[in-house]
Amino acid sequence: MDLCSTITQTSHSPLPFHPISIRCHPHHFTAPGKTNTKHERTFSYNHRLTKSALKRRDRDTHSLSLSFYLRSKISQIFVFGSSSGNPNPPIGSDRPFPGAPSIADPIMNPFSSGTRLRDMIRAIRACKTAAEERGVVRKECAAIRAAINENDNDYRHQKRIGYLGLMLLLDERQEVLMLVTNSLKQDLNHSNQYIVGLALCALGNICSAEMARDLAPEVERLLQFRDPNTRKKAALCAIRIIRKVPDLAENFINPAAALLKEKHHGVLITGVQLCTDLCKASADALEYFREKCTEGLVKTLKDVANSPYAPEYDIAGITDPFLHIRLLKLLRVLGQGDADASDLMNDILAQVATKTESNKNAGNAILYECVETIMSIEDNGGLRVLAINILGRFLSNRDNNIRYVALNMLMKAITVDAQAVQRHRATILECVKDSDASIRKRALELVYLLINESNVKPLTKELIDYLEVSDQEFKGDLTAKICSIIAKFSPEKIWYIDQMLKVLSEAGNFVKDEVWHALIVVISNASDLHGYTVRALYRALQTSVEQESLVRVAVWCIGEYGDMLINNVGMLDIEDPITVTESDAVDIIELAIKCHTSDLTTKAMSLIALLKLSSRFPSCSERIRDIIVQNRGNLVLELQQRSIEFNSIIQKHQNIRSALVERMPVLDEATFIGRRAGSMPATVSTSSGASLNLPNGVAKPSAAPLVDLLDLSLDDAPAPSSSGGDFLQDLLGVDLSPSSNQSGTNQASKTGTDVLLDLLSIETPPVQSSSSPPDVLSSIQDSKSPVASLEELALPSSLSGQATTPVGAAPMMDLLDGFVSNPPKPENNGSVYPSVVAFESSALRITFDFSKPPGNPQTTSIQATFTNLSPNVYTDFIFQAAVPKFLQLHLDPASSNTLPATGNGSITQNLRVTNSQHGKKSLVMRIRIAYKINDKDVLEEGQISNFPRVQSSASMVQFGAVFCVHYYIIFLLGILVIEFLPLRHRLEGAHV
């Protein structure tokens, strides 16, 4: 068959041969034997490809095209290989000149691979059905099999392609790999060394733990194989095996030690790597190699370092730098923590460190590795000095690569000899300002390690100065590091505050929340610096309004210490005097609140600051109120609410305002740190704890602010705590006062939060009787949180409210509609109850049939029937139910988990519920139904409370009462929480 014509006709006949020329700019390229490496090479490359073919091999289709390609290869072999014997002249090795059209090229080219592949694709495209397609593929496969059988010549090439496919497309996690084990084993025992090599290569790249166990003996045997190329691959295979199955390490110790005596570089380099890995895998191996091989390795390194010119391994005048590096690595492992071994290698390390040429990359690579080894092995003063000097030389090198590795190395050296690294501080600091991001990053990390108490001030100054000019993407890293340095090493508070202020005004937008929170905590603790800080912030804010976190800190400080700003309180000597009027201070906050870039937090903080200033600067009160009122219509609920509340405080509650907006208590640093670590409980409790410790030193009872809050809503009427109930009743608009003399008031359990939780989960707490109304204030003292105190406060009123007169109960009963919708049936043992539709949605109906086993009134048996109302079949149908604690639920298995469509059947499931509070409480149940429609998950949830009641009329009334109480409590709590909690919370807690 005429090859050329076949190709030209079938694949690319209409396309002319058109040369494209590619200009190469070899940046680093040094072709062997070329004197001028920088010269521009131009060559043309003949190709016969359409552009689309080029495009097809882009990244996304890379893998796909590869597999396709492998496939096409196989078909090629069979098209050309079998018919024309050996048409391909050897390629590459003796190509006349680069770019010369070669007949053999198309054979290797997947896209000109001739008719076979195209025909196959065309045939597959033409297939109408999957069966036809399979037929075509089957035919192809048969053809390939035939080709394999009759064509031994190409067998090895093909095998190689097969292995390539194996390595690229499979990984150790795929089960199909297991099937290869046996083929691999056969190939490992093959008589042809190249095939053995292929199998070893595949094994080394993809073997799994199981394969490692199975094939370890083969690999062990091949480590002693006569051919060095097989031995080197076996050595790397052994590395993989050891990594997969560390237990096998000891089998390889002896063969590995034997490899170290080899002369062949490939075997030596892989043997050294194997030994390094063995040392990591097993302490025995480490001990063994240390004892037996250190000397030999030193000698090998010496030989390699002093070896005469060896053209095959020579790189820039150095013989096999890779081997150097591997040997140094192994010596490092051996010398680490062992003085004797370290002693043995001192000489050769010194020789390598001094004699290696450092004007080429290869030499530098060796030096770099040598320095690392010197730094890692046991101390030898002279060597260390040598190593640090080399690093110093690296650091001042013009080549960025060398500087990068120097910085990298110095990071490791810092633990060994911090003093020596400190000497290079100035250079390192320069590297932080480098234009190269990789170097900057390394240098910054190094500087961070270099900083200590003694040099923190100059270094921080340098870094902050650089912050001004650094580019945006680096600012984030740099800011974080500077903040961390300042927090860690600050010698005094004023320095801390100064530096943080600088950072905030340079890169406030990059500062993390916890950093400026910490700053506020520090400021609050530095009582003698309040005035200084607020003035400094005021000044900073004049110039950098766009730095969000600076604005926040400034706003907070002006709110707190605004009076110090205008009165120049606590003036330090270093300060310039500054004149700020009250309206200036308000101006700057107004600016912050109106600035469109300010976010919610800033605006909310500004509102609080304004509220505080309204009390500090009475003359500006009206103006502040105007600003606050402007936010009354804010779309953000938080701001709107604050605005309205603060407005009413300013307008109506002059007498308590100053107390409300008193300066924040000193924030507890320990608390803050604890909260940062996430170990503190909810913020509410910390803020209430702080409120006990007011700055004027008088520990007010925590009840006081609470009463103040109540006062507030009562419009200045001094309210004795006992009248709290009245007020609450007023709120409800239900006159319950006559009921307060009722005896036998019920009292809910003491822990208010529990009540809340219980109520929310519709579980009624145990109801107890108490004859005397509880003392509100005393109970507040031991309450844990404002929530609790509010509840406690709310309770007495609810207690009186609970004593329901029929008048009071009636509206409440309406609320409980769901609970009383099913009128109680007269009870008779084992009686029949009406079935109820417990749950109904557009797609599903659940009906409950009840029965009671005679003699056990507490237990109810329920048969649930599920009916599908939709036209789809539900599969994987699961019904789940949950009940409050006083109930016990037993669920039997369902009759099926598939629910036919449109009510054509149903699933039944039996439930048994035992009510431990039978007669007092009724059944409630929360349900969840999960099922699949066409493999799509559907989840429905609901609550069932319309169980038929089994109650006497007396217990019915009692029940009504109990529910009334609880709904009442919920109602009251809701009001209390909504009305007061946010306000209180905000005033005390929301600042930080």
């Binding site: 940046h27 050897p90 790397l236 380099i269 096999d320 590795e369």
Partner: protein, 143 residues
């Protein structure tokens, strides 16, 4: 394991050859390649040849229109990897003669074979060009 992956990417960011020595799914590979290529291609010649990305260190070198990117562990000798890239290019150059991007595109399997002979399981196997090319030339002769 030193080397995690070797990529050859052209100036346009198209991957010409990818060899991984640790398992990543196709999607992960694509994402990783995209990120790395974007990072490396944006750098200029004066900047150093090392880029830190995720937990890899990328050592890269540009030859004409083709970037050679090698992902290595953090404790690998970067300069040695740089030298290795050069050795790889020289080896291909010796085989193809003035190697260029198209050689790798159209002789992808050979490029892979060369890599196979040079790196196994992330470790360097052979540094002699003659030894690397010997099996490949032998195979060509026999086919």
């Amino acid at each position: 394991m030193g080397i995690r992956f070797i990529l050859m990417v052209n100036k346009q960011g198209q991957t010409r050859l990818a060899q991984y020595y640790e398992y990543l799914t196709l999607e992960e590979r694509r994402a990783l390649e995209g990120e790395i290529v974007r990072k490396c291609l944006a750098r200029n010649e004066q900047q150093c040849s090392f880029v830190e990305h995720r937990n890899y260190k990328i050592v890269y070198r540009r030859y004409a229109s083709l970037f050679f990117l090698v992902g290595v562990d953090n404790d690998e000798n970067e300069l040695a990897i740089l030298e290795f890239i050069h050795l790889l290019v020289e080896t291909m150059d010796r085989h193809f003669g003035n190697v260029c991007e198209l050689d790798i595109m159209f002789h992808l399997e050979k490029a892979h074979f060369m890599l196979e002979e040079m790196v196994m399981n992330g470790c360097i196997v052979e540094t002699s060009k003659t030894n690397i090319l010997q099996p490949i030339q032998l195979m060509e002769k026999s086919s």
